[in-house]
Structure formats: structure tokens, C-alpha cells
């Protein structure tokens, strides 16, 4: 029979009263107030707050009554002998062993890293394969409808003859490229002040090229390379994949850092989220680049053509950017891999 000292609160007023608790057999505890045994409590029917750190332990019973004691060790071993609070005590034990903690740390780092590198992209691929391409088509059509309602794109100013020329080149290119069941590659030419020189892949199979882009094209093979790159995005279903990947990533990050209660913490933690997402988009760009390279190798087109148009596009966008200093953040979070790297990839292949 052990006696532990503590404080008793009646739950009605904040006044405390010194008390002690007699730990008896079979989980029956005797509460002693003012040196008088007052009543018997059963440890199984009271609510013992799980131990945390080295803080006082609280036993709650009756109508909001509490017995608070600093004798954590004695109470814990008593609980063990009564078979109460197994989970709580196990967690508390885990938290108190440095060996366990270091093992947890290593395990966590490995899991987090491999989830980011392998787990999420793999899960994304699996889920994407489960979604029929009719879904991509629907999303694409909705997007095109949305574009119609905005002023992003305007009627093209390219001559009819030139348009026909590019359409012919396009058809020639896609005839050599692998098809994805249910998706049809299509070319659309538009003028766009907002996007400048650009080519965009819509998940449904439509590729929109801007007048600005077509004016930069100096060689048919450059055009073919860019089209192959955009088809790569469609073929690998990057639109759907990035949506799924983003959701999975947010979910994983909520698990990882979801327990914040401070604005500043939220901010410091949202920076890595942004960075990890751009990391994934880089992967998509690289995948599309390799798709284009594969095509160009087969067609015996030198990689330097793609590299040329790429560097011309970047130069042009850089000029534009220097005029608009507000685009700083955009370039900071740029989703394309450093263009130098990409250009190098194509030149290396040539050699």
C-alpha cells in the first residue's frame, strides 16, 4: 500500500486542498482529505490524464473533481500494475527514450524523403491510370470555353498562307508521335498580348501557339521540336497529373506540418510547399523535353534547333521581364528548369 501526496480540487471553486491518495489493491484508491479517509475511487472508472513530460499528473473523477500529484513515477507504476492506460504510457515511454527518438528521426527523414522522390510521383501515376482520358478531354474543353470568355486570346494576325503552312507541319509532326487513346492532337493559332511568345498544351490535346511564338520561328525543325515538347505534356497527361500530385503533396504536408498555430510558422512552412511543387513541375518539363528529344532523334533533327528556339524565347521573355519589375516573384518561382540546363541537354545530344 502506497500513499501519494497531492492537491484536491472540487471542480466548483479554484480553492485547493492538500490531500493524499492511498493506492490499494485491485485499483481501489482511498482519497484522504484533511487526514480523514473520505471515499474510495476506482482507477478504472476515473480518467487519468495521460502523463506528459515531467508535469504533475491529474486524476479526474466525480463531477469535475481532480486529484493532482507530482509523484508521476509512483502513479505510473501503479497504473501499470492495474493494467490501465497502456497506450498513454507507451507513448510517454517512447517520448522519453533518446534511442527511440533518434530511430524515429531517421525513420521520419527517410520516409519523408522517399515519399517526396518516389512515393508521390508513383501514387500519382497509379491514380492517373485509373482516370479515363475522357476526363482530360472534359477538362480541356472546359478550359477552352473559359478562354473564350476572357481576353487572353484574340484572333490571329498571321496570314492565311502561313497558317496553312504551320498546320501542315503540325500534322506531319504528330503523325510521327505516339498517340494516347481518346486524345486528339490539334493546333490552334491565336494572338495574345498577355502571353507574348508562347505555346500551351491543353489536356484535351489542343496546342495553342501564339503569333509571337510563330514570328520567332526561323526554321521548320524548331517548330517541330516545340510541338513535340507540347505533345509530350499531353501524352504524359501532365495536366491531370499535376492536379493529383498537388493534392497528394498538400495532404502529405498537412500530415507533416499540419500542427502549427502561428502565422509566421505557416509562412515559413508554405515556402517549402511552393518550392516542392515547382520541383515537380520541373520534372514534368524534363519529361516533355525527353519526349521531344526522342522524336527528334528518330527524325534525325539536331537537338540544337530546339535549343535555338528555346534560347530565343528566353531572351525575348527576359527583355519583356526587365520592363516589368513586378514579375520578379514569377521568375523566382519559375516552373521551367533553368533554361541553360535545358539547352545544354539538347546540345549534348547532338554531339
Amino acid at each position: 500500500m502506497q500513499l501519494i501526496k497531492g492537491d484536491y480540487f472540487n471542480g466548483k471553486s479554484s480553492a485547493s486542498q492538500s490531500a493524499s491518495l492511498e493506492l490499494g489493491d485491485g485499483g481501489i484508491m482511498g482519497l484522504i482529505l484533511a487526514d480523514q479517509p473520505t471515499r474510495e475511487l476506482s482507477i478504472k472508472q476515473s480518467n487519468v490524464m495521460p502523463p506528459i513530460g515531467n508535469t504533475a499528473m491529474k486524476i479526474c473523477f466525480g463531477d469535475g473533481e481532480q486529484f493532482v500529484t507530482d509523484e508521476q513515477q509512483i502513479l505510473k507504476s501503479y497504473m501499470a500494475s492495474c493494467g490501465v492506460g497502456v497506450v498513454d504510457r507507451t507513448i510517454h515511454m517512447l517520448e522519453n527514450r533518446w534511442g527511440m527518438v533518434i530511430a524515429s528521426l531517421l525513420f521520419t527523414v527517410v520516409v519523408v524523403y522517399s515519399t517526396y522522390i518516389y512515393g508521390i510521383p508513383m501514387a500519382t501515376r497509379t491514380i492517373t491510370n485509373l482516370i479515363p482520358t475522357t476526363n482530360d478531354r472534359q477538362i480541356g474543353e472546359n478550359l477552352l470555353q473559359l478562354f473564350d470568355k476572357t481576353t487572353i486570346f484574340a484572333e490571329t494576325e498571321i496570314s492565311e498562307k502561313k497558317q496553312q503552312h504551320f498546320h501542315k507541319l503540325f500534322n506531319n509532326t504528330i503523325s510521327k508521335l505516339p498517340q494516347r487513346q481518346g486524345l486528339q492532337y490539334q493546333l490552334k493559332i491565336h494572338h495574345s498580348d498577355l502571353l507574348g511568345a508562347n505555346a500551351i498544351a491543353i489536356p484535351s490535346g489542343t496546342i495553342i501557339v501564339t503569333d509571337g511564338f510563330l514570328r520567332l520561328v526561323e526554321d521548320n525543325r524548331e517548330f517541330k521540336g516545340v510541338i513535340a515538347h507540347e505533345v509530350g505534356h499531353i501524352y504524359y497527361r501532365h495536366g491531370v497529373r499535376s492536379t493529383i500530385q498537388k493534392s497528394l503533396l498538400s495532404f502529405a504536408l498537412i500530415i507533416l506540418v499540419g500542427d502549427t498555430s502561428n502565422i509566421l510558422e505557416d509562412i515559413t512552412q508554405s515556402i517549402p510547399i511552393l518550392l516542392t511543387q515547382t520541383g515537380y513541375s520541373r520534372k514534368f518539363e524534363q519529361e516533355a523535353d525527353r519526349f521531344a528529344l526522342e522524336y527528334m532523334r528518330k527524325e534525325q533533327i539536331s537537338g540544337s534547333h530546339f535549343a535555338n528556339i528555346l534560347s530565343r524565347l528566353t531572351n525575348r521573355n527576359k527583355q519583356k521581364k526587365q520592363n516589368e519589375s513586378k514579375e520578379m516573384i514569377e521568375s523566382y518561382l519559375s516552373t521551367h528548369p533553368a533554361t541553360k540546363e535545358r539547352i545544354k541537354l539538347f546540345i549534348d545530344v547532338k554531339n
Partner: protein, 399 residues
């Protein structure tokens, strides 16, 4: 009766004197009259005055172990344990806050938190899912849901306050929140809507209203927190004026940084080192973000100082020695530490900040009160069921 002007005289004294000079309050003359003021309580002869500093006994090494176990179990259970983790984390911090010999307790049940998180995740998931389809109708629906959530913010706020406070205990007495939805809509939706039409001029006034709503509706047992002396709009306008000054000063520094950056770039260029424009931009953007966050943190801490130097609970007086600049430094250095250690220093950072914040607080107690801190009754459930959404109230909506 203490007059309004005397009241203002107290608060319009520079904040710093309150921080650095604890005797400041005691040197005030007690006016005759029946209303009890801060000074009355302090100088009353019935009480033996004891200022006791609030203690925070948590340590980084100990919390690190809890943090990593929380992380591990959350990962292993695909996030389900995160609700339990929240309870453990909160309990660690609450249990280590020691006021006058007794600690705080957090009594929320993980299931309630899990329930709230599942609902929040569903709503977010539905919005994200609808947006992802890019279908015009779905986008409209998603927009409507978002608007609905926005309009519900005051309700969510009241529910969260009620949940958080109801689950906070001191000496076996629960805290409570008595704010009503109607008042929440006025303070957190109606008044803020007027900020833009008035070009932000009423922003400090709105901030004051919000602070008053959150504090004066907070109860320990049945005793509400009060401000004595009352908060004045003047003090809020003063803090916001300083806040704008800080932003302008730091914003000016942005130009200096850009100038330095360009200078460095020029020299590197001279020595034949081509530094990419992008690196410079990253540098400047980072500085800019830090400026913005610093000012906001400074603002929050200044308001914290204002609140806790005027807060009373029955006849217990609080005061804080928190210095907003020191607090800002802790935040910035914590952020740097986190980045350098890839987030591993987070537990130490949290403990460091909590210790500074908590230990800046003192309460004035007396012999009688240390025996019976507040003779308040435990609030019964019956008083609370009046409002309709209360069954939702049994969960944490994560604010």
C-alpha cells in the same frame, strides 16, 4: 470616479515606461469614488501585494522528443494520429505554464479534433476537386462554397474560441467563451467591411473592437476578463501609426538593398564573374517578405503588450514586460534557425518563443487569492445550449 481624461493619461503614456517601470502604476493617485480601478486594487490594504511571474518550465530537448514521436506516428497512421498529436503538443505547452504554483490543462478529446479536421478536409477537397474540373458550372459552385465558408468565418471563430477555451482548465475550473454569433458578425464581418471605404482609417478601431470581443467574452469559470483601465482607440491608433512607420522604414531599406545588390553585381561583372539576375531577385524578394512579416509580427506583439498590461480577472491584475522588438528578434532568428536546420530546430524555436512570451507575464496575487485564486463556479452546460449550431461546437475547427 475616475474621469475619462485620467484614464487616457494612463494609456497615453509611452508603452515603454510601462514595460520598464513596474512602479509606474503604483505612483498614480487613487481617485475617490466607488469604482475599483487597477490602482485601487493594487493599493488596497486588504491585500498583501505579490507579483508572481508566470513560469514556463518546458525545455527544447524534452519537447523535441514529443514532436518527433508525434511526427512519426502521424506519418505511420497517414495523418489520423495528427489529432492525437495536437492534443499532446498542446498539453505539453499548457502543462508547463505555471501560474502561482498550478499549471494549465488542455482537456480536448482527439476524436473531436479529428472530426473537425475531416470536415475541413472534405470542404477543401470538394472546392479543389470542383476547381480542377475547370467546368464553368463546377467553378461557380466552388465559388459559392468558398463564399459560404467566408460568410461563416464569424461562426467558425466563435465555435473555435468556445472549443479552445472550454477545453482549457486552471485549478479544475474550465475557461469559457460567452461571445454570441451576432456580436461576432458585427466585429469580424460588418466592421471590417467598412475598412476599405474609409481607406483603412477605422482599421485600428476595428482591431480594438476585435480584441475587446475576444478578451471580454473570455471567462474563467464565470468570471470574465476585463480591461482596467479600458482600452482606448487612441492607443490602437498610436500602435498602427508606428506600424505604418515601420513598414515605410523597412520598405525604404528595400531600395537600399536593391542598390547594394546592383553594386555587388556590377563588381562581380568587373571581375568576370557572371552572377545570374535571378539570384539577385531571390535575395531581394526574400528581404521584402521578411520586411512584411516583421512589421506584422511587431504589430501583433505590440497589441499583446497593450492587452496584458490592462487585463484584469476579477481583482487579479496582469502585466507584461514583453518588448515587441525583442520578440521580433526571437521570431526572425527562429526563422533563420529553422531554415538552416531544415525544420529540425522547430521544437526549440517554439519553446524559446513560448518561454519568452509566457515569462513576460506576471499576475498580482495576494495571500487570500493563492488559497482560492478565483472562487468561481464551474460553468454548467445548461447556460450554453441556447444557440442552434452548438452540436457542431463539440469539435475543433482549427483556428
Amino acid at each position: 470616479m475616475q474621469t475619462e481624461s485620467e484614464n487616457q493619461a494612463v494609456t497615453s503614456k509611452p508603452m515603454d515606461s510601462v514595460f520598464t517601470d513596474p512602479s509606474f502604476l503604483q505612483t498614480q493617485n487613487t481617485p475617490d469614488g466607488d469604482s475599483t480601478t487597477r490602482e485601487d486594487i493594487e493599493q488596497s490594504e486588504d491585500y498583501e501585494k505579490i507579483w508572481s511571474q508566470v513560469q514556463f518550465t518546458g525545455t527544447g530537448a524534452e519537447y523535441f522528443r514529443i514532436w518527433i514521436v508525434n511526427l512519426l506516428l502521424s506519418i505511420l497512421t497517414l495523418g489520423i494520429y495528427s489529432a492525437w498529436a495536437k492534443v499532446r503538443r498542446t498539453r505539453y505547452f499548457y502543462n508547463h505554464v505555471n501560474i502561482d504554483g498550478h499549471n494549465l490543462e488542455y482537456t480536448a478529446r482527439p476524436w473531436q479534433i479529428l472530426k473537425g479536421r475531416i470536415i475541413a478536409a472534405l470542404v477543401l477537397g470538394i472546392i479543389a476537386g470542383l476547381s480542377a474540373t475547370a467546368n464553368p458550372t463546377a467553378l461557380v459552385v466552388a465559388g459559392v462554397i468558398q463564399l459560404g465558408v467566408f460568410l461563416l468565418i464569424p461562426v467558425i471563430l466563435v465555435l473555435s474560441m468556445r472549443f479552445a477555451l472550454h477545453n482549457t482548465q486552471y485549478r479544475a475550473i474550465n475557461f469559457d467563451f460567452s461571445g454570441r454569433y451576432k456580436q461576432a458578425y458585427a466585429t469580424f464581418l460588418f466592421w471590417p467591411m467598412l475598412i476599405i471605404p474609409t481607406l483603412g482609417l477605422i482599421l485600428p478601431f476595428v482591431a480594438k473592437k476585435q480584441v475587446e470581443f475576444l478578451m471580454e467574452k473570455t471567462l474563467l469559470g464565470k468570471t470574465p476578463f476585463e480591461f482596467n483601465p479600458q482600452l482606448t482607440s487612441k492607443s490602437f491608433y498610436w500602435i498602427y501609426a508606428k506600424f505604418i512607420g515601420l513598414i515605410l522604414a523597412l520598405g525604404f531599406m528595400k531600395f537600399i538593398f536593391e542598390f547594394i545588390g546592383a553594386f555587388v553585381l556590377f563588381f562581380l561583372h568587373k571581375f568576370g564573374i557572371e552572377q545570374s539576375q535571378e539570384n539577385l531577385q531571390i535575395f531581394i524578394v526574400t528581404i521584402y517578405l521578411i520586411v512584411l512579416f516583421s512589421s506584422t509580427i511587431w504589430l501583433q506583439l505590440s497589441v499583446f503588450g497593450l492587452i496584458w498590461n490592462q487585463a484584469c480577472l476579477d481583482n487579479i491584475i496582469f502585466k507584461t514586460t514583453l518588448n515587441p522588438y525583442r520578440g521580433l528578434w526571437i521570431h526572425i532568428s527562429n526563422m533563420i534557425l529553422r531554415v538552416i536546420t531544415l525544420g529540425l530546430a522547430a521544437p526549440w524555436c517554439q519553446i524559446r518563443w513560448t518561454r519568452y512570451k509566457i515569462e513576460s507575464l506576471s499576475v498580482q496575487t495576494n495571500k487570500e487569492m493563492s488559497a482560492s485564486f478565483i472562487a468561481a463556479n464551474k460553468s454548467g452546460k445548461d447556460g450554453n445550449i441556447a444557440e442552434g449550431l452548438d452540436d457542431l461546437g463539440g469539435m475543433d475547427l482549427g483556428i
